[in-house]
């Protein structure tokens, strides 16, 4: 797989340097350990919001650092959860005294590393930290037979809404409750037309034939639930949307945010074709799309494919969605 990179070992460092050069007016990148923080952190009177995970999902999470969303982001190596060495300074840097909420995608590594960072923080006793785990992926059963559902597209929405709520001055417990509630009301599922290539691995993580697609993928390039023959966009949308609708469930009368996400290598024209069918199916079911998001927000390097995310909305959530946000990856109202 061809890439626009230099030494594969330097991908994350160099991308961070690029992010610093491009967005240094609003955020600062720290190296060894790697973490990013908004320049005006900590914001007096506000709970700090931190998230992180492996790199390779840009703009998630570093691209969401700024007013209205994340105060700090913690980027691990490609597809590898960051370590407590990284989580700690990022967490402390955004604590104005009101505490810090960590939004943690549900992967064994992400949870364990944030947990270990939490143990160290408690030992130090200076920062009050709460963590909420995000696990919106319906492709995986949440049972004793799995490591639990992956945190995927819902992460973007939760980071935005919680970021806005933090801006409003809500306290740490309230924000944790909100994050949990949002996590309970959001569902996602993704698919891939191609795999992706982790820079140091040098070859795609899995191989699909010209007439195959992978259903129920995550964002780290691992194989999905099922491999099957490629279908039309409309058929793919049904394969993603139906499990989402049945799971929560979503039903007639619901107001939702419909998020069509590109995995990195799929062009925007196709994402709108996907959006069309998803919107039609929701309308058929009496579900009202009140807000939406279409584009590459939580990616898997150059993977071609898409994911659908549905979040149940209420007036408060709509207000939080509409609230100003000023990050490289998401911006409105300012």
């Amino acid at each position: 797989m061809k890439k626009l990179i230099n030494d594969p070992q330097d991908v994350v460092t160099e991308a961070l340097e690029g992010i610093q050069l491009a967005h240094g007016d609003r955020l600062t990148v720290h190296y060894d350990p790697n973490w990013l923080v908004r320049n005006d952190a900590p914001i007096p009177g506000k709970v700090g919001i931190v998230s992180g995970g492996g790199s390779g999902h840009e703009p998630l999470h570093g691209g969401f650092v700024g007013p209205g969303m994340l105060d700090a982001a913690v980027p691990g190596p490609v597809f590898t959860s960051p370590t407590p060495d990284q989580v700690q300074p990022a967490t402390k840097a955004v604590d104005s005294g009101k505490g810090v909420l960590q939004l943690i995608k549900n992967y064994t590594g992400d949870v364990a590393n944030f947990e270990m960072a939490g143990e160290l923080a408690e030992a130090e006793g200076t920062t009050q930290v709460k963590g909420v785990v995000i696990d919106d992926d319906v492709a995986v059963q949440d049972s004793s037979f799995t490591a639990g559902r992956r945190g995927v597209g819902g992460t973007v929405l939760i980071e935005k809404l919680v970021g806005a709520a933090a801006d409003e001055g809500r306290g740490l417990d309230q924000l944790a409750t909100l994050a949990s509630a949002l996590n309970g009301d959001v569902r996602s599922m993704g698919m891939a037309l191609t795999s992706c290539t982790v820079p140091h691995a040098g070859e795609p993580t899995f191989s699909l034939a010209e007439d195959e697609m992978e259903i129920g993928i995550g964002i780290h390039g691992e194989p999905g639930r099922e491999r099957m023959k490629l279908e039309s966009a409309d058929a793919v949308v049904e394969r993603l949307l139906n499990p989402i609708l049945e799971d929560l469930p979503f039903g007639s009368g619901d107001d939702v945010l419909l998020f069509v996400n590109g995995m990195g290598g799929t062009p925007l024209i196709e994402l709108y074709i996907v959006y069309r069918r998803a919107a039609q199916l929701l309308a058929d079911r009496g579900i009202t799309v009140v807000r939406n998001l279409v584009g590459d927000y939580i990616t898997s390097l150059e993977m071609a494919g898409c994911s659908l995310t549905l979040l149940k909305l209420d007036d408060d959530r709509v207000r939080l969605w509409d609230a100003p946000v000023n990050t490289p990856g998401l911006r409105w109202g300012v």
Binding site: G54, T80, T83, A201, T205, E222, G224, R225
Partner: protein
């Protein structure tokens, strides 16, 4: 016989070399049922560990603790906390022991396993690190009970760990990233169990090499 610190240092250096040599293989295993980073992650951690090892007289527990710190701060992913905690607990367990003999290594491994279980909450059969670790411990325990020498006992432990690693092939993963694949995880050897088997083999080889010291 080499002092415990030197033995521990020898083991760490040897295992770091083994991990480096098997980086590609571990990454490939982690591609079939994962995200293709296990080899890279472990290698990064152990290369970092090599630069943070204490002096020859610091004590075997200090060596393992230094490794633990390096793993926790540099590896990330699932393996970082799991192996990091394992080495930390092993280090604590070694504190009691003056020599790095069979019972000491067993205690360290048992404590390490507890660390893995505490962090990962897996059970044997979940297709993880544990599926090589547990058989390795059981074989070591049995061999030592039978009066085998430390190198011989560790040899049997390594064989059992390797058998456990191979036995992960037909398993359906119930923990870790491979569990997202469901039934599709069957038919592939677990990367973490593989790096664990390599660890047991490195222990055995180090014990053998130092048997005449």
């Amino acid at each position: 016989m080499a002092g415990p610190t030197e033995a521990a240092l020898a083991f760490v250096r040897h295992y770091a070399e083994v991990v480096h040599e098997h980086k590609s293989e571990l990454t490939k295993l982690d591609s079939a049922i994962g995200d293709a980073d296990h080899g890279e992650n472990l290698d990064r951690g152990f290369q970092a560990a090599l630069t943070q090892l204490p002096d020859d007289d610091a004590g075997a527990d200090a060596v393992l603790k230094a490794v633990a710190m390096a793993l926790v701060s540099k590896v990330g992913g699932a393996a970082g906390p799991l192996y990091g905690t394992a080495f930390l607990r092993a280090s604590a367990a070694l504190g009691e022991h003056e020599q790095l003999d069979g019972p000491a290594v067993l205690a360290a491994l048992v404590a390490g396993e507890q660390g893995v279980i505490q962090r990962g909450k897996a059970e044997v059969g979940d297709k993880t690190i544990l599926d090589a670790w547990r058989p390795g411990i059981e074989a070591l325990e049995a061999a030592l009970d039978e009066g085998a020498s430390c190198p011989d006992a560790l040899d049997r432990a390594a064989e059992a760990a390797e058998a456990g690693m191979a036995d992960t092939i037909p398993l359906v993963a119930r923990k870790g990233r491979a569990s997202y694949l469901g039934e599709r995880s069957a038919g592939h050897q677990d990367p973490g169990a593989t790096s664990t088997a390599l660890l047991f083999r490195a222990l055995a080889d180090t014990a053998r090499a130092h048997a005449d010291d």
